[in-house]
Amino acid sequence: MISIEGLSKIFHLNQKKITAVDNLNLTIQDGEIFGVIGYSGAGKSTLIRLLNRLEEPTSGKITIGEKEITTLDKNKLRMARQNIGMIFQHFNLLWSRTVSENIAFPLEIAGVPAKERVQRVNELIELVGLSGRENAYPSQLSGGQKQRVGIARALANNPKVLLCDEATSALDPETTNSILDLLVDINERLGLTIILITHEMHVIRKICNRVAVMENGKVVEQGDVLDVFLKPKQPVTKKFVEQVMENQDGDLDQLLEEYTSGELVRLHFVGETANQALISKISREFTVEVNILSGKITQTKLGAYGTLVVQIIGEKNEVNQTIQFIKEETSVEVEVLVNA
C-alpha cells in the first residue's frame, strides 16, 4: 500500500511561491492501476516525482509498503529507489547504449553480477516484445519501441511499484494502446502497483481501476473509474469525461425530427458486459424492429459504459412490453425520448 499524507511541495521562483502540491492525501492499494488526471500545471508530475523524491517534499509523509520514503537518508533512499520503477514521457534512454545495455543499466546500479544481468536482460526483452532489437540503439527505434525499453528498464530490478509520468503522451493512438496493453499485462502478471499520470481520459478509461482528479495541487475527486465516469461531480471531472464521451447523442434534435415512427429511447449501459447482447436479445424475443441511431459505448476495465439512442418500431403493445423488459430484467436504464 502507498499512503500519502498531508503532502505539499512549494517551489520558490524569483520571490514567488508556487504551491505545486497542496496538502494532498491519497491511498493506493497494492496491485492496482491508479490513474491521476489533471490539466497542465495541476501538479501531477510534481506529485509523482515526490513519490521517489526526485523532488523533495516541503511537508508531508509518503509510505510505500513498509518504508517511510520521506524519512530515508540518502543511501537508504537510493536502495528504495531500486524498488520503484519509473517511466517517462520522453523515454530518457541513454543514446550511447544499445537496447540491451540500457536495460542492463539499473542492474549495474544494483550490483547484479554480469552473468545474471545477461539472463535478466533477455527475459525483459522477451517480456516487452523487443526480441531481435537488442543491439539497436535508441535512435534506431520508434517511439513505442523506446517506451518498451523504458518499461523493461524500469522493471529490471523487480520493483513493487511502477511510476508512469505521461508515458504515452508522446505516442500515436495505436502505439498508445499497445503500450497500455503491455502495462495491463505487466500489472496482471507481476502483481505490480502502477501509478499513472496523464491528461487523457481514455488512458484512464482503458486501464485504471481507480482515478484521482487533480486541480491546483489538490485531489478534487477520486474513486472507481466507472463511478467517476458515471457520476462526475466536479466541473473538471465532467470535462474530462466529456473528452471520451463527446457528442454521444449526435444531433439529437435532428434525430427527433427525422425518426417520427415508433419509439425513440435512450439506453444507458452501466458496467455489465452481459448487456451487450441486449439489442439482439430483444429483437429475438419481441416482434419489434430495433434501429440504432446513434450512441457511444466505451469499455472501461470494469465493463461497458455508455449510451445508445435507438428506435423501436412495432405494435404499440409489443413496444411497451419491450421497454418494460429492459427496465425490469436488465440493469440498462431506459429514457424515453419520443413516444410516437
Binding site: 521517489n52 526526485l54 533512499l77 537510493r78 536502495m79 528504495a80 529507489r81 531500486q82 520503484i84 519509473m86 517517462f88 520522453h90 530518457n92 534512454l93 541513454l94 543514446w95 550511447s96 547504449r97 543499466f105 539499473p106 549495474e108 546500479i109 544494483a110 540503439y137 535508441p138 535512435s139 528498464r153 530490478n157 511510476l163
Partner: protein, 222 residues
C-alpha cells in the same frame, strides 16, 4: 629536385623537429584532457541545479579558468619560467614546455567539456537517479559516455590549438617545428626552411582533425 627547391632543409633535423612537435602535442594533450575533464566536471557539477550545486566553489573554479584563458600564451610561458625551472630544472627543451602548454590549454578544454556536459539530457540524469544511481555512477556511466562525442571533438579543437602553442613555445627553445622554423629558418634568412615547417604543421593539423572527426562520428549514435 627537393635539394634544389629547398637547399637549406636538412632532412634529419626536420624529422627530429617534427617528432618533437608530436611529442609535445601528445603529452600536453594527456595532461590537458585530465585537468580539463576534471575542471569541466567541477564547473558542471557545482553549477546551479546540478548534483553538487555549490555557488562559492563554482565561482572560484570559473574565475581560475577564465584568468588562465585570458592570458595570451606567449606571456603565460614567460610568466611560468620560474615555475617551470623549479619543476623541471630548466626552462628550455620540449619537456619544459609541457607545464605552460597544459596550463594554457586545460582551462580552454574545461569550458568545452562543460558545454558538452550541459548538452546531456537532464531527463537521462533523472532516470539514473530514479534507479538509485550514485553520483559516481552518474558521472562515469551517464555524463561522460553521453557527452563523449562533444568531449572528443572538443579535444580535437584543443589539440589543434596546442600544435599552434608548441610552435610559439619554440621561441624559448622548446624544440619542434616552430623552434626549427624560427632559429634555423627565420634567423638565418633561410625562408625555404620556414616554408617546409609551415607545410608540415598544416599537415599535422589536418591529421589531427581527420582522426578527431573520425572518432567523433564513430561514437555518435544519436
Amino acid at each position: 629536385m627537393l635539394k634544389e627547391l629547398f637547399p637549406n632543409v636538412v632532412m634529419k633535423d626536420l624529422l627530429v623537429a617534427t617528432g618533437e612537435t608530436f611529442y609535445m602535442t601528445l603529452l600536453a594533450m594527456v595532461g590537458t584532457v585530465i585537468f580539463g575533464v576534471l575542471l569541466g566536471l567541477l564547473l558542471y557539477l557545482t553549477s546551479n541545479g546540478s548534483l553538487w550545486e555549490n555557488k562559492g566553489l563554482n565561482i572560484i573554479v570559473a574565475a581560475i579558468v577564465n584568468i588562465f584563458r585570458a592570458i595570451p600564451f606567449i606571456i603565460l610561458i614567460l610568466l611560468l619560467i620560474p615555475f617551470t625551472t623549479f619543476l623541471m630544472g630548466t626552462f628550455r627543451g620540449s619537456n619544459a614546455a609541457l607545464p605552460a602548454l597544459i596550463i594554457g590549454a586545460a582551462p580552454f578544454y574545461a569550458r568545452l567539456v562543460e558545454i558538452g556536459l550541459r548538452e546531456v539530457d537532464k531527463g537521462v540524469i533523472e532516470a539514473a537517479q530514479s534507479m538509485g544511481a550514485k553520483t559516481k555512477t552518474i558521472i562515469f556511466k551517464v555524463l561522460l559516455p553521453e557527452s563523449m562525442p562533444a568531449l572528443v571533438s572538443g579535444a580535437t579543437v584543443t589539440a589543434i590549438a596546442l600544435i599552434g602553442s608548441t610552435a610559439v613555445a619554440g621561441v624559448i627553445g622548446a624544440g619542434g617545428l616552430g623552434d626549427f622554423a624560427y632559429f634555423h629558418g627565420f634567423v638565418r634568412r633561410d625562408f625555404d626552411v620556414v616554408f617546409v615547417c609551415t607545410v608540415l604543421i598544416v599537415i599535422i593539423v589536418f591529421i589531427f582533425q581527420f582522426i578527431g572527426d573520425f572518432i567523433t562520428n564513430k561514437l555518435d549514435k544519436r
